[in-house]
Amino acid sequence: MIKTIISEGLPVDEQLLIRKKVIQNGNSPKRICIVTGTHGDELEGQYVCFELIRRLNEDIRFLDGTVEVYPALNPLGVDSVTRGIPTFDLDMNRIFPGDPNGHLIEHTAFEIIQDLRGADMVIDIHASNIFLREMPQARINVQMSKKLIPYANLLNIDFIWIHDAATVLKSTLAHSLNVIKTPTIVVEMGIGMRMSRDYGNRLVDGIFNMMKKKKMWTGTISKDICKPILSTTGEVCYMNADASGIIIPSVSHSVDVKKGDLLCQIVDPFEGLVLQNVLSPVDGVVFTLRTYPVVYEGSLIARIFSKNTQIDNGENQ
């Protein structure tokens, strides 16, 4: 059954529709929600929605509970290759928990929260942005980590990144749900404007694995579920561009690198000069890598996770 949770008039002959697919079987009151499409340029979640529903439809008898799938919280954005909310130029993931008396979009955000409230688990799928490629990972606020890590461990992802309280954005969907005790895990994977079947299948396997542990699924599950690395067992090292120019990558995504390895070069296409050799300051795994070539000073190039080593940024030149 497809349920419309928001239907509000747009100026000319159209409704703003936010819809969810509700799949229910058995008697269990348990409910999990898969949400995505908050950022209109992030599409990795679309494959997950499709594949999850396809598999559930095929074997619905093994489901005991309710799975709700929200492919597009920002339908106008997804349909128009717009990251934010078209016409408002606003990042939808910065307006939660919304306001019932506010502007249409604030009111919409409020209604979305009300609809998700009380779920046993919400998985909020993101796909980085058009600049960076991300290894499948969960992002969890340190205050929620005790509760959420055991579930993130089931999702067949590579990495769990625990965020400090100071860096947690309070206006996100996930934060707003977690504060009202609706457990929500943010999954980031892949890259904007693209869809990768491999990552999608992995997460779908992970979701079934989680449903099995939650006793919502009695069917088969994948046998090789990946155990993610926890960020608190080491350190996350950020590499930002020191110069503006064009980057030429030397490593590929998700690989292990050694301290001193060349990650990429920032070059000047006018002078034919190398402006910066970006070297890895640590031994570790490249879990975020910039693929968009044009960079400004400060543009993020890579994030490397290194297990329990000291970061020495001084050596990067």
Binding site: L10, H103, I105, H107, N240, A243, S244, V294, G298, S299
Partner: protein
């Protein structure tokens, strides 16, 4: 004799293909860091930048006449984002991030975090901070001073601008990353001035804004320039504003706009069918008061804020 105005490049960054990105500052006087004024941080804040330019123009005049009082430093930064303004974008040209969601900034972080960090370093430590702000949703405001209820705000000072209203607002989750909030956290008395318009220049309302800034500076004995008293500002909070929402979508035929006084039952606007022109809805004022905010786009969504009215 005061030193004369210094035009400085406060931040400079090379771009891959465009001209260098610069943030320019105009520094007047010497002594205590008295006031920092920030104009456009978004590319559509043309009114805000224009207002700032008029403040600079007035301060140059006042300085010539020796009317910037000794012992005060004034820093004006008319623009922190002309890279977006020059190409008609609202947010940072490269990655669409909002500089005014990056404070206090981080000098080793992303580009806009670096811009925010550089800007904040320059404007931090001043006694007063004034930002010419725009609202994040489209619409027109009555000129007002806005302060966040952080516990550090000083309403008495806000009234010195002599604008019709002072709005005290509870911070929302995103506010912790805006300039105004961070100023207050770091001990600057911060004021956001809303003159009403964005993406255009309304000379009337811009003048109200720049005169209010000069009035404030005069009142704080930073400059000597007598300006008529202005308004005895009415202080209000969100609960004093009555919200009128649209019950239909369509073409908005608005009869009233910000500043208008309305009676209970007055017809404020009609919402028309975009194909037939038939009136779908008539919007009446639920209260007697002054329109504080009005939606000013000719198209209207359903269930969105059309007006906020200050109740008498």
């Amino acid at each position: 004799m005061n030193g004369s105005m210094k035009q400085e490049i406060l931040f400079k960054m090379k771009s891959p293909y465009r001209d260098d990105f610069k943030i320019q500052g105009f520094r007047f006087g010497e002594g205590e860091k008295s006031v920092a004024i920030v104009g456009a941080m978004r590319g559509d804040e043309i009114q805000q930048q224009f207002t700032c330019s008029q403040v600079v123009k007035n301060l140059i005049e006042l300085e010539k006449e020796g009317l910037i009082l000794p012992g005060h430093e004034i820093l004006v930064i008319p623009s922190a984002n002309h890279f977006s303004m020059n190409i008609n974008k609202r947010f940072w040209a490269m990655d669409n991030t909002d500089i005014n969601r990056m404070f206090p900034g981080y000098d080793k972080g992303e580009t806009t975090q670096r811009i925010a960090a550089a800007l904040f370093e320059e404007v931090c430590g001043f006694k007063y901070g004034i930002q010419l702000a725009s609202f994040y949703l489209p619409g027109e405001f009555i000129p007002h001073v806005r302060m966040m209820d952080t516990g550090f705000q000083n309403v008495k000072l806000a009234k010195k601008f002599g604008l019709p209203y002072v709005l005290i607002r509870k911070p929302r989750p995103y506010d912790t990353a805006v300039l105004n909030y961070n100023w207050q956290i770091f001990d600057t008395q911060a004021f956001s001035i809303y003159s009403g318009d964005t993406n255009t220049i309304n000379k009337e309302s811009a003048k109200v804004a720049w005169l209010s800034i000069l009035r404030f500076l005069n009142s704080m004995k930073i400059i000597k320039k007598n300006i008529h008293d202005g308004f005895n500002s009415f202080v209000l909070s969100d609960v004093d504003l009555e919200t009128v929402k649209s019950n239909q979508a369509g073409i908005l035929y608005s009869m009233n706009s910000a500043r208008d006084e309305v009676k209970k039952g007055d017809l404020l606007a009609k919402i028309l069918d975009p194909f037939t022109g038939i009136v779908r809805s008539e919007i009446y004022s639920p209260v007697e008061g002054t329109i504080f905010f009005s939606h000013n786009h000719p198209l209207i969504h359903q269930n969105t804020v059309m007006y906020r009215i200050v109740k008498f």
